[in-house]
Amino acid sequence: MRYKIAELLNKSVIKIVLAIVLGFLVGAIALILAGYDPIASYSMMITSIFSSPQNMVQVLILTMPNILTGLSVAFAFKTGLFNIGGEGQYLVGCMAAVIVGGELKMPPVINIIVIMLVAILAGGLYGALAGLLKAKFGIHEVITTIMLNWIALYFNNYLISVPGIGVKNTQYSIAIKQNAWTNILSNWKTSSSGKAYLASHHTLATILLGTDINYGLIIAIAAAIFIWFLLYKTTFGYQVRAVGLNKEAAEFAGIGVNKNIIMTMFVAGGLAGLAGALQMAGSAPHALSTLATEPGYGFNGITVALMANSAPIGCIFTAFLLSGLQFGGSTMQMNLGTPSEVVNIMIGVIVFFVAVASMFTMLSEKIKKRRVKNAD
């Protein structure tokens, strides 16, 4: 029995589940200490997600960028790189998408494909820059990507002041042309026949008109499957993982480590850039806006990847979990006044316990040792 517990503690899935449970536990303690009711707060957090179809759709919309930035961090992790630059790469993707999608006239379908490709390229190059700085100059990617995040944020704000890209006297840029939007039935729902139909179908109307429901999530899930394929079924993925497991051995086996670092960061940046493009194409106002702080999707990606143990398919589920927590956290604040930042505390605790996952291994070893002693 004890041996079984020890074995269980050593499983990575169990470690992550324990980390999540501890996150909720510490969050509850923080709530109690601050004088809030943790049970009421948590149940509000969870029930609000499922309380209406509209809310469920909102969580799914939030999930899309989190899957992609999660994949971005997870992919870089596989080669031993820590991509904290998702914020910047996401923003660069947004900027590229809005410039191309707002300025150029293109036929439908082709336009969204071009927008996505340009955003992937832009985000990818921005990520590759951090990879280059690491490979060529040995500068830690954590520092460079953080600096690049702030540079991207201020560049975003600068673009809004540029005539032709920014809309005069507003906090917004020009919007992506409507025929490139990824919203489901975006033309039909505003047409007269659509309006007439939706007037008699209330639930459908709240989803189609009350949310920015879009195809982005499907593309994000496809991307997760593609990244899984890339990592485990191709030579490139094999090389990425080899460098992550043992740099020296990989070098010895003839894998170009430096080239690999840059390529990996390109893919990681491209994923975050794609998140930017899909967000711009899928959610109102379909334009850039002046930012005071980072939008947060890049940092969400870190949590998503860590919770998923860097498994691409796992990112889909952990992104959903995180988005649910964040959505639930904001409704909890609206309805009960409980600070939504408790979610950030929970996320911090979860990441912390993923970092000290070795604690569970040590515990498992201790339990096993005791068993041996008892056997003697």
Binding site: V142, I143, T144, S161, E341, I345, G348, F352, M359
Partner: protein, 295 residues
């Protein structure tokens, strides 16, 4: 002309002080072999605690001390993870960077009627012609840190633990104790750095008060070759970049540059300096590697 030069120096020093505090925090932690990516989070909680205690007690000194203590407490969490549980130090640091702002904003909403910004403190730290007292304090700290690290046996122990913990252990140095104390001190200093923002540079805490200063301080540690005086010089350079943002951003400045382009300056400068200098500096040998007794 002279007044504008004096103004530039004054603003440079004002923005450098928080960076130097945090940079010193990075120096002591990394010299003891623990990478501290969490400085940013420790600065944030320090900035909040400084502003909140400064507001409620009307005493900026109590606020300053509270900032240091708050940073130190957060650092202990990092220490437990990195030293006792051999955690991945980068990931633990990232967790600290979630926890710091999370706790700060959570407490802010609780204490300031649901707001994420604190009310302005009634009294800032004392200043002389716009030069805050944090500047001489931090310069004194640089001197003390340099003296302790290079002229005392305590400093020798800290550096020994960062360079070769196994050898230090055989000499009877308590490696874990030295690491714990260094990381705690690192947090206190980072907390001071945060409080030096909210009690001198500005007078309240907002979610964007600490926006990358912790990471700039880390870059300064690398640029300063992991030495207190070197780190100070690097921080002064970054402080100057921030002063330029303020001076050139003024409406009556000679050249008109869009403010958002100017705001990039400190971050771009950090990257350029890292590219130019990083290859020539080397970290303490056992930096970032967890120490396991008897291995």
């Amino acid at each position: 002309m002279l007044t504008s030069i004096l103004l530039a120096i004054s603003i440079t020093l004002m923005y450098s002080a928080p960076l130097i505090f945090a940079g010193l925090g990075g120096v002591i932690s990394e010299n003891a072999g623990v990478v501290n990516i969490g400085i940013e989070g420790m600065m944030t909680i320090g900035a909040f605690a400084g502003a909140a205690v400064g507001y409620f007690t009307a005493n900026p000194w109590l606020g300053f001390l509270a900032g240091g203590l708050a940073g130190g407490m957060l650092a202990l969490i990092h220490a437990v993870a990195c030293i006792s549980f051999r955690a991945d130090q980068t990931i633990s640091g990232v967790a600290i960077n979630f926890l710091g702002p999370g706790l700060a904003l959570f407490l802010s909403r609780k204490l300031f009627q649901g707001g994420t910004t604190t009310k302005p403190v009634p009294n800032q730290l004392p200043s002389f012609h716009g030069n805050y007292v944090t500047i001489p304090i931090v310069l004194l700290f640089v001197l003390i840190m340099w003296f302790v690290l290079y002229k005392t046996s305590v400093g020798l122990r800290i550096r020994a633990v960062g360079e070769n913990p196994a050898a230090a252990d055989t000499l009877g140095i308590n490696v874990y104790k030295v690491k714990y104390l260094s990381v705690f001190t690192s947090g206190v200093l980072s907390g001071f750095g945060g409080a030096a923002m909210t009690l001198a540079v500005v007078s309240n805490f907002t979610p964007s008060t600490i926006s990358g200063q912790g990471f700039i301080a880390l870059a300064a540690v690398i640029f300063g070759k992991w030495k207190p005086h070197g780190t100070m010089c690097a921080c002064l350079l970054f402080g100057f970049a921030q002063a330029l943002v303020v001076i050139l951003g003024g409406s009556n400045s000679i050249i008109q540059i869009p403010s958002s382009i100017l705001s990039m300056l400190p971050y771009v400068l950090t990257l350029i300096i890292l590219v130019a200098f990083v290859g020539k500096s080397t970290a303490p040998k056992a930096d970032g590697i967890p120490y396991v007794k008897g291995q």
